[in-house]
């Protein structure tokens, strides 16, 4: 191996470590903010332009899973149509009751910051997205992020001046206190490197079924209670285990997020504590 190569390698390693060290003190935050600000429009355009090609390539490599999923979805649509008809009836009744009682919708007190997703963490091991709103718009670290339909996306892990990084619930570093809506069984929903969600610490005796909805429990104060996380797709009960492994599918397709809502009216407990 050439001395020149070894020397250059050593220099690059030393510079890298110095940069990592300096980053811990947010030394380069203005530079990173400026780079994201300049790159955001280009990245948005690139995302939009390549989306059809990406869909085509993904479908080619995923054909078996897609045909299985297609069959499942057909069955699910049939079931949902039936449920939908029943729910419409109930909704009509509920609306009439609400008008009578003048109940205020709980969501009217919440304030949101709408943001567009313009980039994604390039590493395969992380599930982090970049949004085009930052601390200048009121975004703070720890704020909860939802889809436009209201299901949980993740939380703000880093807020720069004009942009922010949102760690998705599927990221391996994510852990959200959760409960199963039907049985009220509690647990923690954690992400994994392959982008899946697992609900851990669900007691072996808890009644959990496929299709059950999983919500945030609010325990720990990092998320408000009652935010929709996903649906149970698999339950594994092993003999002599204290807990059952519950696989959860996020309700939103987190790999295709284009716009999100930052819940500005809720700050995690650490941030609000004196």
């Amino acid at each position: 191996m050439h001395v020149r190569t070894r020397t250059w390698f050593s220099v690059v390693i030393i510079v890298s470590l110095a940069l990592v060290g300096a980053s811990r003190f947010a030394f380069f935050a203005p530079l990173e903010n400026a780079a994201l600000l300049v790159a955001a429009p280009v990245e948005s355009a690139l995302r939009d332009a390549t989306r059809p090609v990406a869909d085509f390539v993904n479908n080619l490599t995923d054909i078996n899973r897609l045909s299985r999923e297609n069959q499942q979805l057909r069955e699910e649509i049939e079931q949902l149509r039936r449920e939908n008809a029943l729910l419409r009836e109930e909704q009509t009744e509920l609306l009439q009751y609400r008008q009578l009682l003048d109940i205020r919708d709980a969501r009217t007190e919440d304030t949101f910051i709408a943001a567009d997703v313009f980039a994604r963490e390039p590493s395969n091991l992380r599930d982090v997205i970049a949004i085009d709103r930052g601390s200048a718009d009121g975004v703070r670290e720890g704020m909860v992020v939802l889809t436009q339909q209201g299901s949980l996306v993740g939380s703000v892990s880093r807020a720069l001046n004009d942009a922010a990084w949102v760690t998705l619930i599927t990221d391996p570093t994510s852990a959200v206190s959760a409960l199963i809506q039907e049985s009220r069984a509690q647990g923690v929903v954690v992400g994994a490197a392959d982008g899946t969600l697992t609900m851990e610490f669900v007691e072996e005796t808890a009644d959990v079924k496929e299709g059950d909805l999983v919500l945030t429990s609010g325990l720990g104060g990092s998320h408000p209670p009652g935010e929709l996380i996903g649906q149970v797709v698999e339950v594994e009960r092993a003999a002599q285990e204290l807990f059952q492994a519950v696989r959860v599918q996020p309700l939103a397709d987190l790999s295709r997020l284009e716009a999100v809502l930052v819940l500005a009216s809720f700050l995690p407990q650490e941030a609000t504590a004196p």
Partner: protein
């Protein structure tokens, strides 16, 4: 082509990596065009150009990712040592060498990410990460190498001495 054009290509690749590549999923992983471009550049063109482009790519990627600045540069740094392999002439085929280096560089790049997770207090599932991330990432990058290598080779008439394959 020159190192200046290389820097431009790296900048475009970094933008594509942050904006477009995460939407592509090959066996569950998305390819890394930066590793692929740097390997192709080192295999086809002069080593000194690659030595400049590797840290530059790491720095630019660090500006646009969510990790601490410098981590991407650290993960790409082993590529510097791999640029010497071409001079050793273990195999005559530059493309075959590029495939081997791409596989190895992809492995090292993702391993740095896993080690970072472990160092920051997470408990990565190493076996699952190898099965679901490392191996698919290597396959995705090797597949992407073929067209990228072709483009770099065709655009490098100024330094090309040996056949592409």
């Amino acid at each position: 082509m020159s190192a200046a054009l290389g820097l431009l290509a790296v900048a475009v690749a970094v933008l594509a990596q942050a904006a477009a590549l995460p939407a592509f999923s090959v066996f569950g992983a998305h390819p890394n065009i930066i590793i692929v471009l740097l390997v192709a550049w080192a295999a086809v063109r002069a080593q000194r150009e690659a030595l400049l482009l590797i840290p530059a790519a790491g720095f630019l990627l660090g500006l646009l990712d969510s990790q601490p600045l410098g981590l991407a540069m650290l993960a790409l740094a082993p590529l510097i040592l791999m640029t010497d392999l071409r001079e050793l002439r273990w195999v005559e085929s530059n493309l075959l060498l590029a495939v081997v280096i791409t596989a190895f560089a992809s492995l090292v790049y993702e391993l740095v990410g896993l080690v970072t997770l472990a160092v920051t207090g997470e408990r990565p599932d190493w076996l699952a990460a190898t099965r679901d991330v490392l191996v698919p990432a290597i396959i995705a990058n090797v597949l992407l190498l073929l067209p990228v290598y072709g483009v770099v080779w065709f655009a490098s008439a100024d330094v090309r001495q040996r056949p592409a394959f």
